[in-house]
Amino acid sequence: MRQRKLEIYSVEHHAATDIKKKEGRDGKKDNDLELKRNQQKEELKKELDLDDHKLSNKELETKYGTDIIRGLSSTRAAELLAQNGPNALTPPKQTPEIIKFLKQMVGGFSILLWVGAVLCWIAFGIQYVSNPSASLDSVYLGTVLAVVVILTGIFAYYQEAKSTNIMASFCKMIPQQAVVIRDSEKKVIPAEQLVVGDIVEIKGGDQIPADIRLLSAQGCKVDNSSLTGESEPQSRSSEFTHENPLETKNITFYSTTCLEASTSPVGTATGMVINTGDRTIIGRIASLASGVGNEKTPIAIEIEHFVHIVAGVAVSVGILFFIIAVCMKYHVLDAIIFLIAIIVANVPEGLLATVTVALSLTAKRMAKKNCLVKNLEAVETLGSTSIICSDKTGTLTQNRMTVAHLWFDNQIFVADTSEDNLNQGFDQSSGTWTSLSKIIALCNRAEFKPGQESVPIMKRVVVGDASETALLKFSEVILGDVMEIRKRNHKVVEIPFNSTNKFQLSIHQTEDPNDKRFLLVMKGAPERILEKCSTIMINGKEQPLDKSMAQAFHTAYMELGGLGERVLGFCHFYLPADEFPETYSFDSESMNFPTSNLCFVGLLSMIDPPRSTVPDAVTKCRSAGIKVIMVTGDHPITAKAIAKSVGIISANSETVEDIAKRCNIAVEQVNKRDAKAAVVTGMELKDMSPEQLDELLANYPEIVFARTSPQQKLIIVEGCQRQDAVVAVTGDGVNDSPALKKADIGVAMGITGSDAAKNAADMILLDDNFSSIVTGVEEGRLIFDNLKKTIAYTLTKNIAELCPFLIYIILGLPLPIGTITLLFIDLGTDIIPSIALAYEKAESDIMNRKPRHKKKDRLVNQQLAVYSYLHIGLMQALGAFLVYFTVYAQQGFRPTSLFHLRIAWDSDHLNDLEDNYGQEWTSYQRQYLEWTGYTAFFVGIMVQQIADLIIRKTRKNSIFKQGLFRNKVIWVGIASQIIVALLLSYGLGSITALNFTMLKAQYWFVAVPHAILIWVYDEMRKLFIRLYPGSWWDKNMYY
């Protein structure tokens, strides 16, 4: 069994450590890039190295030391297995759980807090040495800090692990079996145990168990769509047909599907295993994917940026005041304690956990809408996406051939290609249609697998290739039970399709018991069919095939072909009863029946049609300012046709070639600026320099890349990223996986997607619906806005938390708020409110604005920091000080008397400190009052944070427009703030270590006017922003 666990990338926030590393890294980066390029080239070369397809059977036998008839010996196989390892892809390298956990423990602010905790303990140690009765405060603080870091770390780890578990359920692999000849015996063994040189047998419907050189096969077809993106089945035989191992017919590739194999008598193809496991083509692509560095998600970059800002402020303010404190002749130990307090006050301990929760809430919401996010941070990425590179097959299209057009009676009819195409609305009254439908039903070898009567027709499993499947389903929908029709028209002989004939033929008895004639039906390449016809059926009557009819045929053929559709011709012929009596013995080898002068009936064209929801989704992406580029391995004509039908190339835009054709001039003469759209093939791309690619990407709003290799997809994604775009790649095939990995966000299809693609992707569309991407964009943009609000909310109180320490150091007030009390704001009252902001609805239509610029529109910008810190933050600090002074004044200490009181206040020996009323206070009494002050300050901040929470609901609109009560979670948040504060003050007021006291009821209301002031102030800010857009105010006050 192949064990595959998906790699889940943890939310990593690197703080200060990164700054130092950065310099060193930049220099190395170029080298890395070069190295990577070389590596890719190397990979390309390796593909070409393969020469087994040129060798004869004998040469192969010697090369791999095997025997085509008897197979390998078991011992030799065991040796090879031991030597080369199992035939399975190495799962992507996984970070051990413990490393992930430790990363959470040291990421982000954690390292700062660890330093703080350790400093606390050291400070206590030093104090203890000099005075064994030193207070335990710093031990408490250090422990609390450590606990905080560990708890938030565990929490973040748990969040990550939860999303991992969702993913794990997605990769239950069914162990694959293979039929192998060993020791002259046929054995069924797990595919994992295949070794090079094994002779394997493949049936129709099997997955190819390894890279295989075919030895004998006939009518073998494989589906290479996951490897190359071609939706059409590729025929395979034992002949060497092409120098390129990817194109030659005698090699089939690991993990592609064999659709059909019809070597008589057993219906199998035989081949020799030439590559196993990671050495297969798929394995190389997969390793190419894992070799691609995982780009940091935009939100991770933003969070890092934010962490740097906050950590920078914290450390620099801390050190500044450390120096000031030392200069003011404070004891160094005290100065260290101040430093810690300042850092703790500045660091929003709860914020990163909050962000994680907000992201996972969005992830959950998206999962409900069928967007499964593997990597939590990728939730936001779609929101900032500016280019979507979409694979065609299976992503934009349904990945199944469907009848799209018919031509008969000199007329083109359109068939329904939607996902359930139940109503085929074209005119079916003509006699020609009767004949045509009969040919479609009879000249077809595909069959439904039995036991699917209750399954809708379009969903039934069919044995047969894609075109035949399409025809079978098409006729089943229109005619009803095709199997029954075939039974009534008994088949007497058939010649299956092959590449030399390019037609398929069968002869049937007719269902009319009076008609003893045999019916010959034939389908194939239209030009070949036409050659064999001398008459054509028009309105149910045979007419001679004259020149004008032939012209009409060609026009129709060209037209349908031009739509990128695969066209088939159909003809029939009633064999004269006198020449071919009922007992006539037909022989498919000698073809003892006429195959010319037949009656041409009609053309039918098929395409892998676009999903019905795609055009709408593409339009929505466009209006959201996102460029949609198609990147496919398929042919340019098909690609262009699909691009046009889904709107990737809009109806009125032309390519250079279109203009040339319209104006009847050479392609070179066309002014390239006139063309809005471009179709670029892999061959052209190969010759382009990176600069040319950049130019191409920059100049054309509508681009289609066709016939691209996996490596080229990677190059295209890199090109887009060079334009500073955030690139999303959608895809389902193995060939997409490197690009999926390279992209800022890889989106894989959940149903049709290959495991390799799902592995490499960050997001999986469970319903394969491209339009789910639009949901993703919307949610991503919303969460970005809401994270801004959350951060603004959380940062605001930092000033109110920081000021007490600064003022304590400089002005010598009794300490207004304790470090542990601060943590109760950061991790207590503020947690639920800041999560509540994630539930906020969008302020305006976020789908009508341009995606944010990666480098300009930051999550935390200067405006946000200035407004939060210096406007609301300072107001909050004032309000909190008001409560603090009120408490002290009522207890007997007037504000003025508090200044420079610190030394006397903190002295343990001074037990009769006089207040303004002449009362005398012992140090314990003062301490109790100090704790009451902490509680008061805490309550002051809490009350104003309620106002802060309300104002953060919007950034521009009035709160009243947004609706005060629309987001109920906000109120839950406010309630939680109040309840937590009440619990802390009245419930835990007697626990010494927590430094809370029971606060008089009226003190809870002292800061209320300040809270109202904050609200009014912010409403004014928003009003001026709305009144004067683009003004100085707008530029500086809008965050």
Binding site: Q890, Q891, G892, S907, H909, N911, D912, E914, N916, Y917, G918, Q919, E920, W921, T922, Y924, Q925, Y928, L929, T932, Y986, G989, S990, T992, T997, M998, L999, K1000, A1001, Q1002
Partner: protein
């Protein structure tokens, strides 16, 4: 008569009820209950009589209002609510839930940043600073100053001064000479030169707070840990070793400008020499708490004497 007096003003019985509450709610373990049942009963009776007066002041308290409605439902219920009310609202200090408790804290002089008195009798340098400190402290108690500024009020009762709040209040005399041998008048070294140190004890001032009527608060010192005979004799000045009621209540330094805290001097006349003697001086009297663990200055003070010869 006694009850009348109490109920007219804010209750003069702040602890009993608090005790009981703390006990019941197990919230405040700071105060260790050792008060007699009697006191509790008294407290409850007292509260009942107070309630009418207090109501006006308590309007802002929601719970208060509820309680008012609940009044008719029964006496037991009413009592319970009273208890809760007392817990939430402290009528004496007119504050709710603020428990910076009302009990006498004490402090001693000389104050030397430490409660360990170590000195060598024969080396004046080791005790000179105590003498200076005491002298400085007692400047405000000089007889001449006291006679000039303060009045001689009758002992044994509160010196209650009704009238406007802003009105200046008179203060009772506490003369330095009350301290006799510890006044520094006869022995300017306060006994330090003879190995018989004087230590002055005062109660921290609290605005409006009064000790129990009846026997005034007394001071009593003993060896805290160890052999009781380490201190063989202590003289107290004034001889009653108590703080007279006439010095209470204190009206705050804004109006009670010349208020002089009453003192009790402890003269350790016979203490074991050349070893550390831990001394605990406690206040004794009705309603006095002197065994709180967290605040070591509530109703008592612990210091050490180490007199070397």
């Amino acid at each position: 008569m006694r009850r009348q007096l109490r109920s007219r003003r804010a209750p003069a019985f702040p602890y009993g009820s608090r005790y009981r509450l703390d006990d019941q709610d197990e919230v405040n373990q700071n105060y260790l209950a050792d008060e007699e049942e009697e006191a509790e009963e008294e407290a409850q009776m007292m509260m009942a009589s107070n309630s009418e007066e207090e109501k006006e002041e308590e309007e802002e308290e929601e719970k208060e209002e509820e309680e008012g409605q609940g009044q008719p439902t029964g006496n037991a219920w009413w009592h319970k609510l009273q208890v809760i009310n007392e817990y939430l609202w402290d009528p004496e200090r007119r504050m709710s839930l603020a428990r910076t408790g009302q009990s006498w804290r004490v402090m001693i002089r000389p104050f030397a940043h430490s409660l360990n008195f170590n000195f060598n009798v024969s080396e004046p340098d080791t005790w000179q600073h105590y003498v200076i400190s005491l002298n400085g402290f007692l400047q405000g108690y000089n007889d001449s100053l006291q006679e000039e500024m303060n009045v001689d009020c009758p002992p044994g009762q509160y010196f209650i001064q009704d009238g406007d709040e802003d009105e200046d209040k008179k203060a009772c005399q506490f003369k330095r000479s009350f301290l006799k041998n510890c006044s520094g008048l006869e022995d300017p070294t306060f006994g330090y030169s003879t190995g018989q140190p004087c230590i002055l004890l005062k109660m921290n001032r609290i605005v409006g707070f009064r000790p129990e009527l009846g026997d005034p608060v007394k001071v009593s010192c003993k060896v805290q840990r160890g052999d009781e005979n380490d201190i063989r004799s202590i003289n107290y000045y004034p001889e009653s070793a108590s703080f007279d009621l006439r010095y209470y209540p204190y009206y705050g330094k804004l109006t009670h400008v010349n208020y002089t805290s009453p003192l009790v001097a402890m003269h350790f006349t016979d203490v074991v020499k050349n070893q550390v003697v831990p001394v605990q001086c406690q206040l004794k009297g009705k309603g006095i708490i002197n065994d709180v663990i967290n605040d070591r200055f509530v109703g008592r003070i612990i210091f050490t004497l180490n007199i070397e010869t």
